[in-house]
């Protein structure tokens, strides 16, 4: 007895254990879907986060001399100061990986002497160059650098100073006058100084490398004076590509063309529309060059920053105001600092309020007061992930979390005006050969492409699939239906890679060479069906009995094949007589339509084939399961077969047909291989049937393997996948919901 009981006990335990396991297994399906959803969101989320800036360290330094400039290494481990005595002092920011506290003073860890005479000014010349001006009006160019060494076993950062133009001072001005403004830029062959002297001359000094500045600092020097109609200069900037100089002259900016070595010409004058309110005088208060040097940013006393770059117009290239940023409502913009590699900039107003912006995406990323007033020196770390401020011998280090400023909801879905483009456009261009390329991520062209491909596919598939479904479900004899239905459904099993391959390599060239035939087919196929039907109608009775109407699909097969053959045979003839022998030439030259070999027509047909079985199968089920007593009733009341079909059957089955089309649309939207292989994958905005497109799915397949993990590009591709996911989720859930309702309706009938 006890043994039996025990066995019952074990069996019960097993039973409930199994129950739990199976329940867990069942729920894991839901869990999987939620996991996919959440994971996609998790990857996308950082893209839409705005910047965060948090303090890392703050400490005072001991320094007798006045500090003129500061700097930072790439990993934010060392900071340096340049003081009036011509010394560079280095300070370790993270000694022994400890966070520095407020009251801690940091000792000087390293010192290097540049000049014996007193330094009066340090000019930041971009790309890690500093110009040192001493009291004797000598100019030195230095570039503080950092090397990582493992010689002692542990990691060490060793600072050193490199002199790209030699350790000797550079005679920038022939007459040795003092500069009020000086700007500098160089590449491997040339270095250019633009300066404004105390005696009011605007000069250009060009150093031409004897060999290559990257390893040999020797040069020849050339002096020029630039004619200037005024003697007021407030700021001077040279673009890093040595092509232009921007001279601020009061409330206007003069742009000089430097590309011609012998002749510096005034190229344009930028006069911002400052007069917006009469009470306050409006002035340009700050000027800076955006990374890349094509855009200039102008800050005004009204608290606005405007971005300007050259745009090709009908009257040649002109500087245009592209966009403005509202930095402050009450205060003037005092300083603009730009990042070295990205199109971001930081602003300061009088009260020390800082703002962080990204130009292209018009993102307003951060605002706030990190200090009570404008810092004496402000440095953005080379990787744009840290800020170093220096005020009253006090360093403050901040970490910046701002990895994807170029992506905003607006930039993804609205027109964006990129540098060098004539107007704002929707562009998807994620990579390019050049280094200073800016990724252009507009989801509009690829979403449009998805829609276009799906639309052409549905235009092709819906009529065929629905008519086939109607006939199979309602008119066909059961014997034939048993064979026809699985045959058409077999198409669903065909791998789409094969459909895509046939579309791209077999169908596309056929369509290209036989365009008239394809056009002819669309007209001749329905007509030939009518003619056959009429011919059958007029057959003698005995023959009709032998070939019943239920055989219509079989009768039509040879007819349709024959018509297709005829159309193709007629194609070259039509081409000769109607289109001057070459229809492609005719379309491109006479009609002015661009023609791609792999175009929307090819995709429409190929993807149509992929979608037909989905729609056919579900619509057929819906029509077939319309209760028989409904049709019998209608027929008994004297309606014809066709009337019954239209008024009773289709009406009852319409939700099912709707859900079939939804499912088909869902499939067409997400299809990858066919579009990938049957289109040219160019992201264009054009409904033309003779042009291709790029879809979300194909875009992911093409670009995902090459995108860098964690980059904006990678996350935007995840966003594209998420959009697809949501798209199909809505379609499928809607279709399923409608189908459930229909099932309930049928069972109640």
């Amino acid at each position: 007895m006890s043994i039996a009981l025990k066995s019952v006990g074990i069996r019960q335990v097993k039973n409930s254990l199994a129950k739990w396991l199976i329940t867990l297994g069942g729920i894991s399906v839901l869990f999987t879907l939620v996991l996919i959803f959440m994971y996609l969101l998790y990857v996308i989320k950082p893209v839409f986060e705005s910047a965060t800036i948090s303090p890392v360290a703050s400490f005072a330094i001991e320094n007798e001399q006045q500090v003129l400039a500061t700097g930072l290494d790439e990993l934010q481990e060392l900071a340096y100061t340049i003081n009036t005595s011509g010394n560079i002092n280095y300070y370790a920011l993270k000694p022994d990986h400890q966070i520095l506290t407020d009251d801690k003073k940091v000792a000087l860890t390293f010192q290097e002497s540049i000049s014996d005479s007193k330094i009066t000014n340090v000019i930041d010349a971009g790309e890690n160059y500093k110009l040192l001006l001493d009291e004797n009006n000598h100019v030195f160019l230095i570039s503080p650098k950092f090397q990582t060494s493992y010689d002692t076993g542990a990691r060490e950062v060793i600072p050193h100073i490199s002199y790209p133009l030699g350790e000797e001072s550079i005679a920038v001005d022939e007459q040795g006058a003092e500069f009020t403004h000086l700007s500098f830029a160089m590449n491997d062959e040339k270095a250019v100084f633009i300066g404004f002297t105390q005696d009011q001359r605007l000069i250009k000094t060009t150093l031409i490398a004897e060999d290559d500045f990257s390893y040999d600092p020797s040069y020849e020097i050339e002096y020029q004076t630039i004619d200037l109609s005024t003697n007021q200069v407030d700021e001077v900037l040279v673009t890093p590509d040595l092509a232009m100089a921007f001279i601020q002259n009061g409330d206007q900016v003069l742009v000089f063309d430097l590309s011609d070595d012998s002749d510096v010409e005034l190229k344009a004058t930028i006069i911002p529309q400052l007069a917006q309110s009469r009470e306050k005088p409006m002035h340009i208060t700050a000027m800076a060059l955006l990374s890349g040097g094509s855009s200039v940013l102008l800050g005004d006393s009204n608290g606005k920053v405007s971005q300007w770059f050259e745009v090709a117009t009908d009257n040649g290239r002109q500087f245009k105001q592209i966009r403005t940023f509202n930095v402050s409502d009450t205060e003037a913009v005092r300083q603009i600092h730009t990042e070295q590699f990205r199109k971001s900039f930081y602003t300061f107003t009088d009260s020390g309020e800082m703002g962080t912006f990204y130009t292209t995406s018009e993102a307003d990323l951060w605002r706030g007061n990190l200090t009570n007033n404008i810092p004496d020196s402000f440095v953005i770390s080379p990787r744009s992930d840290g800020l170093l401020m220096f005020t009253n011998n006090q360093f403050q280090l901040f970490s910046v979390k701002n990895e994807h400023p170029e992506v905003t909801w607006q930039a993804l879905w609205q027109e964006v005006w990129y540098e060098g483009y004539p107007e704002a456009e929707y562009i998807w261009q994620s990579t390019s050969g050049s280094d200073d390329f800016e990724g252009k991520f507009s989801l509009v062209p690829i979403s449009f492409g998805t829609m276009k491909a799906a639309m052409y596919a549905m235009l092709f598939a819906v009529p065929i699939a629905l008519t086939a479904a109607i006939y199979t479900a309602y008119f066909m004899t059961p014997g034939l239906r048993k064979k026809v239905k699985p045959t058409i459904e077999l198409m669903e099993a065909l791998p789409t890679v094969i459909l895509g391959f046939l579309a791209g390599l077999w169908l596309a060239p056929i369509i290209e060479t036989n365009l008239p035939a394809i056009a002819l087919l669309f007209i001749m196929l329905p007509i030939s069906v009518f003619i056959t039907a009429f011919a059958w109608h007029n057959l003698p009775k005995e023959l009709k009995a032998q070939i019943p109407e239920t055989w219509a699909p079989i009768i039509l097969i040879p007819v349709l094949i024959l018509v297709a053959y005829l159309a193709f045979a007629l194609s070259p003839v039509m081409e000769t007589y109607l289109f001057g022998g070459d229809i492609r030439q005719y379309i491109t030259n006479d009609l002015g339509i661009d023609f791609d070999q792999r175009n929307a027509l090819v995709v429409g047909i190929a993807m149509g084939f992929a979608v037909i079985p989905t729609i056919f199968s579900m619509a057929e089920d819906a029509i077939f399961s319309v209760p028989k007593h409904l049709t019998s009733g209608s027929l008994a009341l004297g309606a014809t077969q066709w009337q019954t079909l239209i008024k009773v059957v289709l009406l009852t089955a319409s939700p099912g047909i709707f859900s079939a089309i939804m499912m088909g649309l869902g499939r067409a939207v997400g299809e990858t291989m066919i579009v990938l292989m049957a289109t040219g994958n160019t992201p264009i905005l054009d409904w033309s049937i003779f042009q291709g497109m790029r879809t979300l799915a194909a875009n992911i397949a093409v670009e995902m393997p090459e995108s860098e993990v964690g980059s904006s590009h990678y996350r935007i591709l995840f966003l594209a996948a998420f959009v697809l996911f949501i798209f199909t989720f809505v379609f499928n859930t809607l279709a399923e919901f409608v189908r459930q309702r229909l099932r309930e309706k049928y069972s109640s009938l």
Binding site: L21, S28, P495, P553, G581, L676, I700, F729
Partner: protein
């Protein structure tokens, strides 16, 4: 006429036209793939064309007729041909001329009106080579060890070389491959000890000794390999091409010499079958455009098997839960929506998810924990066959669920009640009664899942497939099954060869053949599944009565 229109008959015919069109497209598609795919294996006639162009230059073209098309004669006006003006179209032929080392393009179009003479000389041979594609020409001489010998010795010389080549391949792939693999493992072992700071002098010495032994072995094998290679290059064959150039081809380079024009139908048939055998069992050559697809078949099968192992239990358990345990509540409804949506989510989304979640997140963590010695080169943190199998398992999960549930729902309630009434617990009923009866339905689901997975390409492009895998994921080196390796896949092979290969025209027949293979596999899997399902339905219908 009007009455006829009112009767709706024309519309009925029009809808019948929809059925006809669908049938034509399905069957036409299958026929297209089958005919193009099979013709790849059929030994083609080699033609010799004598051409005369409009300037009176005569030339000879030798090759296989690859394609023919007619074009409007107006498109050729600029060529100033003297064509029959009454003809609106001109026929032209695409000839595969091979001989890639002599001409830059191994295909050329010739216009039919330019042909003055066309023949199929019996002496023309097709030489299939390891590099530079086919050679079409006449045998001038066979040279054995520097001496010219009779052409009749060709088959025996060729057999000898092919045997040598087999030896070389085993030596290279199996023996030398194993040594390289062991050397790499030793390097990793050393690195691991270094990282864990457990590299004692003894250990270092052991490893160094083993490396030395392996390298000595390698030296021996390499010598043997070089000797064999020299052996294969002993004999040559002299061939005369269409422009009377003489080309010497080493036997080391030759795979097959055939005399297509002399073959009778039976010989052609035999060759047809042997070509198919070579296609499914050989490795690809020349950037995948020639040779066989064995690694792709192997990769597809292995990946699908792995997937089956994962998806079957998951799918069956979920289906059992939905049908046997789930109550009629909101959770069940949600679950059903989840199943429908899992089936409807685009496959590329699974690829993106698999890449981000499995490869980078899970795989990256596995590497950190278990394979720190190979970092920064990833082991599981990179696309591979295991991640592909798991990703496709999620993708095909709904297929198994839906099919299994359908099977479960067809089992008459009486069988359950009988079992329960006799005192069996629910799980015993499931295990002993329900599952055995439903097993054909489960089988159907699994077969359909396999068919779906075998044809899916888009997600695999992200999670593990490559155009050319140097090693199969299964080989003779411990642990034999290398789940971290990338693999080749038939579907991707089609995409890659058809669209990424440098010589698309030459590769096209191979793509058709691959497509035929894939379609055959998938269609037969589907038909099997459908027929099992139909039989099952019949059986249940009988059980009910």
């Amino acid at each position: 006429m009007n009455k006829w229109f009112k009767s709706g008959s024309p519309w009925i015919w029009l809808s019948a036209g929809g059925v006809s069109l669908s049938l034509i497209s399905v069957l036409g598609l299958l026929w297209l793939i089958a005919s193009r795919g099979l013709s790849y294996f059929w030994p083609a006639q080699v033609h010799q064309f004598e051409l005369m162009d409009n300037q009176g230059n005569a030339s000879t073209v030798i090759g296989e007729i690859y394609d023919r098309e007619s074009i409007p004669s107006q498109q050729l006006v600029h060529l100033n041909l003297d064509l029959d003006p009454s003809e609106e179209t001109v026929e032209r032929l695409l000839i595969k001329t091979g001989n890639r080392e002599l001409v830059s393009l191994d295909f050329r179009w010739i216009l039919v009106p330019e042909i003055t003479q066309q023949s199929t000389p019996e002496k023309l041979v097709v030489v299939e080579r390891r590099t530079n594609g086919n050679f079409y020409g006449f045998i001038e001489a066979v040279i054995q060890d520097g001496k010219s010998v009779s052409i009749d010795t060709l088959p025996s010389l060729l057999t000898r070389v092919l045997e040598l080549q087999d030896k070389i391949e085993t030596l290279q792939k199996v023996e030398i491959g194993a040594i390289n693999y062991q050397l790499e493992r030793l390097r990793l072992r050393e690195r691991k000890h270094k990282l864990q700071e457990t590299l004692t002098l003894d250990r270092a010495q052991d490893i160094a000794n083993e490396v030395a032994i392996l390298q000595a072995k390698y030296q021996v094998l390499e010598k043997r390999l070089l000797a064999l290679r020299d052996e294969t290059a002993r004999d040559q064959i002299k061939l005369r091409a269409m422009d009377d150039q003489i080309v010497t081809v080493s036997f080391a380079d030759i795979l097959k010499v055939t005399n297509n024009n002399q073959m009778n139908s039976f010989e052609k048939l035999m060759m047809f079958f042997s070509q198919i055998a070579v296609f499914v069992s050989d490795d690809p050559r020349e950037a995948n455009t020639e040779g066989g697809v064995f690694p792709a078949i192997f990769g597809t099968v292995l990946m699908v098997l792995l997937m089956t192992v994962i998806v079957s239990p998951m799918g069956v358990i979920a289906a059992i839960y939905l049908h046997e345990y789930a109550g009629n509540n909101a959770l069940t409804k949600l679950l059903r929506i989840a199943v429908i949506n899992l089936a409807g989510v685009p496959s590329i989304v699974y690829g993106v998810f698999g890449l981000g979640f499995f490869v980078y997140m899970v795989g990256g963590s596995l590497d950190q924990i278990f394979y720190p010695e190979t970092l920064p080169s990833p082991t599981f943190g990179t696309p591979g066959v295991m991640w592909s199998a798991i990703t496709l398992a999620i993708l095909t999960l709904p297929v198994v669920i839906v099919s299994t549930e359908e099977g479960l729902s067809r089992i008459p309630a009486a069988m359950r009640h009988g079992s329960l009434a006799l005192g069996a617990t629910k799980v015993e009923t499931l295990w002993r009664i329900i599952l055995p009866i439903a097993s054909p339905a489960i089988m159907t689901g699994i077969i359909l899942a396999i068919a779906r997975a075998a044809g899916e390409v888009a997600p695999l492009m992200l999670v593990g497939v490559v155009k050319m895998a140097p090693n199969l994921p299964l080989d003779g080196n411990f642990p034999f099954l290398h789940l971290d390796r990338k693999f080749m896949h038939l579907g991707f092979h089609i995409y890659d060869v058809g669209f990424q290969s440098p010589n698309v025209e030459a590769a096209r027949p191979l793509v058709y053949a691959t497509a035929l293979l894939l379609v055959t596999i998938i269609i037969s899997l589907n038909m099997t599944a459908v027929s099992i399902r139909n039989k099952l339905r019949e059986k249940y219908r009988m059980l009910e009565h």
